[in-house]
Amino acid sequence: MKKILLIEDEEIMIDLLQKKLISEGYDVSVARDGEEGLKKVREVKPDIVLSDIIMPKKGGFEVIEEIKKDPDLKNIPIIVISNSGQPVEIDRAQRLGACDWLIKTEFDPQEVIEKVKKQIGK
């Protein structure tokens, strides 16, 4: 079973995505801020990370940066799921090593699943 780490601080989004991902047969771990996310990524060693950007304690950019700096973790694909989405931000995330950026208002859970499938398969 493919493991997904979801780093997100908004409860409703966690609930919705978790439900959707589980229904698709993924093993979902959840972290509610950047720091917890970095801790969990080391513990869980997920197949993919879905991360928000604006979060307490540590932001999404730092999370990406640290994961990509860590030789053990750097190959884990990261998809950003954010409410924001300015070109500069998207660029920055891509430079840091994120593989995709989804703006929440432009995508729905089904489309997120499709992106995940594309990265790690079922």
């Binding site: 229904s23 924001s84 300015q86 208002t105 729905d108």
Partner: protein
């Protein structure tokens, strides 16, 4: 007379009349004399006594009386003569008075009848004439002298004036020269003061590539001293680390740059611009302006952060609603009734509208920031259009509209575009056509290319835009009255954003519309090979 009275006596005695008769005769004769004597006594000597032809004893007396009267008359004539003379003299008085005051205009009138005065009067007239002539001569001489004096005075004045004018002109010239010098000096000082106190760093480079001037601000920014660098070749300034950045930017040939950002160090970002300095069309050097944009950069960063944050804050609840509704509709959260589905679908559409409105507002914010177009890439425009048209297929079907896409038969030249933004323009065009074309209508999307630019048109058979509102169609928040009646939801931002996007791509945007018949919106973008495209 003695002889007459003797004769009278003789006569009387000869006739032998009586004494009484004689006495009577004498009284009578004497009484005859009375009136005359009375008149004489009153000074009237006009009449003499008539002497009877017949001589008698009275004849002598009467003759004597007449002689006496004659004498008296003569005496009275003298008086009259005196009076007359006085009168004549008094007549002369006004003329002589005039003469006395130098008025010789009048002569004395000489009576035609010559008398003892005639000579005198003639003499007076001669004298008056002489005086008149003399006075006139004198006057003429005086006038001549005066005229000469006036002329000479005039001449003198003219010369003096000339001299004064020359002097004044000279003084003015001297003043002008010194004023000009002062002005030049002042201008120079002013210019120097401006250069010295200018908040931007300024460098002046001559045609030999030598630094001829550096102002204190530039000294401070680049951490150099004017006395060490002025007169040196620009390339030799590379020894100073901060100046080196400028040297690298300008190169040896002093390239033209416009608003080139240079990060000198942390918290110091400059914007360099070069301006060729010319005098009567001849270049004599280059002015380099180093404008400190650190603050602007900071504000820009803050603004980006603000926009990002507000976008996040506004979108967060909307995305939660969107996702929840979508999962409800997809059946992820359990089965729903048809009625529930219908309500949820409508709510979902409303939510989408809200999301679009916020996106539009964010886009406008970014347009106003002037940094809206992001990293344009050479792109096949027909692919972008195709993509958007495909995404609206369902919508067209739902509204019972015929969508015709005139696909180009050949590959077009590339256009350099920010794909996301151009996609937004095509979306706006198609959405407007969808929204304002009644069911059964037609929407035609066409592309064409004339080597210089690629043109995209969206034609509909919809409401059209009223003529009186056409010129405002691209303004922010504007919505046509007939469009508002059909749909109250539009933000009035779509075409404003579209125009800004096309303008930023150096493209053209326009429309043709007839109310009640339809509208064609078009834009054209320059091809990469033929035009400059985006810088």
């Amino acid at each position: 007379m003695k002889e007459k009275s003797k004769n009278y006596k003789k006569t009387n005695s000869k006739n032998g009349k009586s004494l009484e008769e004689y006495k009577k005769q004498v009284a009578e004769r004497l009484s005859q004399l009375t009136p005359i004597l009375q008149r004489v006594s009153m000074g009237d000597f006009s009449e003499n006594i008539v002497v009877p032809e017949k001589e008698d004893e009275f004849t002598e007396l009467i003759v004597s009386l007449n002689l006496m009267v004659d004498d008296l008359r003569g005496f009275k004539g003298l008086e009259e003569y005196k009076k007359q003379t006085a009168e004549r003299f008094s007549q002369l008085t006004p003329i002589l008075q005039k003469v006395a005051v130098g008025d010789f205009s009048e002569n004395v009138v000489i009576p035609e009848k010559e008398d003892e005065f005639t000579e005198l009067l003639a003499s007076i007239n001669l004298m008056v004439d002489d005086l008149k002539e003399f006075t006139e001569m004198q006057k003429k001489a005086k006038e001549e002298v005066e005229k000469k004096v006036t002329e000479r005075t005039k001449e003198l004045k003219r010369r003096t004036d000339e001299l004064e004018n020359s002097r004044r002109a000279l003084v003015n010239m001297i003043e002008d020269v010194s004023e000009s010098r002062e002005k030049i000096e002042e201008e120079k000082n002013k210019t120097l003061a401006i250069i010295t106190n200018f908040s931007d760093g300024l460098l002046v480079i001559d045609l030999q590539g030598k630094l001829s001037l550096i102002n204190p601000q530039a000294e401070k920014t680049l951490e150099v001293r004017a006395k060490n660098v002025e007169g040196k070749k620009i390339v030799d300034l590379s020894v100073y680390p901060f100046a080196k950045l400028i040297v690298d930017l300008l190169g040896e040939e002093i390239k033209e740059v416009f608003r080139q950002e240079i990060e000198i160090k942390k918290d110091l970002v400059l914007e360099a611009t070069t301006i060729p300095m010319t005098q009567s069309d001849e270049k004599f050097g280059t002015l380099v302006i180093l404008h400190d944009i650190t603050r602007e950069k900071l504000i820009e960063k803050m603004k980006t952060e603000f926009v990002s944050l507000s976008a996040h804050q506004l979108r967060t609840p909307l995305s939660a609603i969107k996702w929840t509704l979508k999962m409800l509709l997809d059946g992820d959260l359990g089965k729903i009734t048809d009625e529930q589905r219908s309500f949820i679908e409508k709510t979902y559409i409303s939510n989408e509208r809200m999301i679009n409105l916020i996106n539009d507002l964010l886009n406008v914010t970014r347009i106003e920031e002037g940094k809206y177009i992001y990293k344009p890439q050479p792109t096949q425009l027909e692919n972008v259009v195709q993509f958007v048209v495909n995404s609206y297929k369902d919508e067209f079907a739902k509204k019972n509209l015929k969508c015709i896409f005139n696909e180009p038969t050949e590959k077009f030249p590339l256009v350099k575009i920010d794909v996301e933004k151009i996609r937004l323009v095509v979306q706006n065009f198609i959405e407007n056509a969808l929204r304002y074309t009644p069911a059964g209508g037609e929407v035609t999307i066409s592309l064409k290319c004339d080597k210089r630019e690629v043109e995209v048109s969206v034609h509909d058979t919809g409401l059209g835009i009223p003529v009186d509102q056409q010129e405002r169609i691209f303004t922010k928040f504007f919505r046509a009255t007939n469009a508002m009646r059909v749909d109250t939801e539009g933000s009035g931002l779509g075409l404003f954003i579209s125009k800004n996007i096309i303008d930023a791509h150096n493209g053209r945007i326009w429309f043709k519309s007839e109310e009640g018949k339809g509208t064609t919106f078009s834009f054209a973008l320059p091809c990469v090979l033929s035009g400059e495209g985006l810088v």
